[in-house]
Amino acid sequence: MRAGAIFLREARLAFAGGGGPAAPAAFFIASLTLVPLAIGQSPATLQAAGPGVICFAALLAVLQGAERLFGEDVVDGTLEAYGLSGLPLSVVAIAKVLGSVLATLWPLPLVGLGGGIAFGLPVEAAGMLALALAAAIPGLAFLVAIAAALSAGARRGGLVIALIAAPLAIPLMVFTASAGRAADIGNAAASANLLLTCAVSLFLTALSPFAISAALKARLE
C-alpha cells in the first residue's frame, strides 16, 4: 500500500459518506449566520467581532468531522491493514490528514472571505483573514487529528476531541484572528500575524504526525 493510495482512499471516503466539502462548509455558513442573530446587527459590533468569530466558527467546522477520521479505522480493522502495510504510521497519518483536509476543508477560507465581507470588513481585511485561515487550517487539522487519534475507540470520543484540542488551538486562534483584526484597522501587524500563523501551522504540521503515529501504534498493540 502506498501513501498515495491512502491519500486517495481518504479523499474518496470523504465524498462517499460525508458529502465531501459540503458538510463543513455548510456548518461554517450556518454558524456564521447565527452570529448576527445572537449578538445583534450593529455594523460596528459585527465588524469588530468578525475576524474572531469567523476563526472560532472555522475551528468548530474543523472539529465537526474529526471523530470519523480515525474512529472508524480502529473499529473496522483498517488500522491493522495500515500497520501491516510496511509504511511508517507517521506517513499514514500525513496521507490521511492531508487527504481529508484537501477533500473537505478547502472551502473554509472562501467562506471566511465571504463571511468577512458580510460582517462589514473591508475587502483587503477579509482577504487577509481568508489568507490567514488558509494558512491555519492545515495546522488546525493536524492538531485536531492528534486529538482524534488519541480518543479513537473511546466512549463519547467527539466530546473528548473538542476538550483536548481547544486549549492547544489557542495560538492559531490568536494569530489568525489578530491578522484579520489588524488588517481591518489598517495596522501593519497584520502581515506579522499572518507569518506567525504560518509558523505555528508549519510547526504543528511537522510534529503532529509523530504524535498521531504514537497514538495509532498504542492502538495496534
Binding site: 492528534i146 488519541l150 480518543s151 475507540g153 473511546a154 466512549r155 463519547r156 470520543g157 466530546l159 473528548v160 476538550l163 483536548i164 481547544a166 486549549p167 492547544l168 489557542i170 495560538p171 490568536v174 494569530f175 489578530s178 506567525l196 505555528v200 510547526f203 510534529l207 504524535a211 503515529s213 504514537a214 497514538a215 501504534k217 498504542a218 492502538r219 498493540e221
Partner: protein, 261 residues
C-alpha cells in the same frame, strides 16, 4: 519507536528521573518509601501551613494599597505555582512512562492530574475573590488569568481522555502522549496569550534577577505557605499513588480468586 514489549521496565538507561522511577518501580520498595514519605510530607505540610496561616492572617501587617485582601495572596500564589509545577511533573512522569514503560510513572501522572486541576481551580477562584474588590471585576481577560484557565482546561482534557478509554493500558499510553503534546505546546500557548494581551496582572515579584520586590513581612508567610502547599501536594500525590497500587493489587487478588473458584 521500538517494537512493542522490547523494553521491560527495569532495562532502561538510568538517567535523571528514570533513576528514581527505576528504584521505586519495585512495589515493595515503593511501599517502604511511601510508608515513611507520606507521613513526613503530611505532618510537615500541616506544620508549615499552620505557621503560614498564623503569620499570614494575624502577624503580617495590612497592605498599604490592598488592605486585608493581600492575605488571599498567601493561598493564591502557592496554588498558581503548584498548578504549573504539577503540570510539568505530570509531563515529566508521562515522558518517563512513554519511553521506559515504568508503570509507576504512569500511576504518578494519573495521580497528579486531578490534584493539579484542583490547584488551578483554587488559583482561579481565589484570584476572582481578590480581583472583585481590587480591580473591580471578578474576571478580566488578562494574560496570566487566561493562561491559568488554559492550564485548568489542559488538566481537564487529560482527565477526560483517561476516563473515556476503557482499556487501562491504552488509556495510560494515550494520556501520556497528550501530556507530552501539551508540554511541547505550552510555551507557544503562553507566548501567544501574552502577545494577545495587554498587561493588568502584576508581573514576577518574588523570583527576579534583582531580588524579591516584596516586603519581608509578606515574604515570610508566602514562603511558608508555598513550602507547605508543595509538601501537601506531594503528600496527596503519594497517597493517591499508594491507593492506586493497592487497588490494583486488590483487583488482581479478586481475579485470582474468581479464577480458582
Amino acid at each position: 519507536m521500538r517494537p512493542s514489549g522490547a523494553c521491560p521496565p527495569d532495562q532502561g538507561r538510568l538517567t535523571g528521573a528514570n533513576i528514581m522511577f527505576s528504584y521505586l518501580a519495585n512495589p515493595q520498595r515503593f511501599e517502604k518509601f511511601s510508608r515513611i514519605a507520606i507521613p513526613v510530607c503530611g505532618w510537615l505540610a500541616l506544620a508549615l501551613i499552620a505557621a503560614g496561616l498564623w503569620y499570614g492572617l494575624f502577624s503580617s501587617p495590612v497592605d498599604r494599597f490592598q488592605g486585608d485582601t493581600i492575605r488571599i495572596m498567601y493561598v493564591h500564589v502557592p496554588s498558581a505555582w503548584l498548578a504549573l509545577a504539577l503540570y510539568f511533573a505530570m509531563g515529566g512522569a508521562s515522558f518517563v512512562y512513554f519511553i521506559w514503560r515504568h508503570n509507576l510513572a504512569d500511576t504518578a501522572a494519573a495521580s497528579i492530574a486531578p490534584i493539579g486541576a484542583v490547584f488551578a481551580g483554587l488559583c482561579l477562584i481565589t484570584g476572582a475573590i481578590w480581583g472583585r474588590p481590587t480591580w473591580g471585576a471578578w474576571w478580566v481577560w488578562d494574560a496570566r488569568l487566561t493562561s491559568m484557565l488554559i492550564q485548568f482546561l489542559l488538566f481537564l482534557g487529560y482527565i477526560a481522555l483517561r476516563a473515556a478509554i476503557e482499556d487501562e493500558r491504552l488509556a495510560a499510553r494515550s494520556a501520556a502522549i497528550l501530556a507530552m503534546v501539551g508540554l511541547v505546546n505550552l510555551p507557544i500557548v503562553r507566548f501567544s496569550v501574552e502577545w494577545w494581551d495587554g498587561i493588568l496582572h502584576q508581573g514576577a515579584t518574588v523570583f527576579r534577577a534583582d531580588g524579591p520586590q516584596i516586603h519581608g513581612s509578606q515574604l515570610l508567610p508566602l514562603a511558608l505557605m508555598a513550602a507547605g502547599f508543595t509538601l501537601m501536594a506531594g503528600w496527596m500525590v503519594l497517597y493517591r499513588m499508594r491507593s492506586a497500587i493497592m487497588a490494583r493489587k486488590a483487583a488482581n487478588l479478586q481475579r485470582l480468586r474468581e479464577a480458582r473458584a
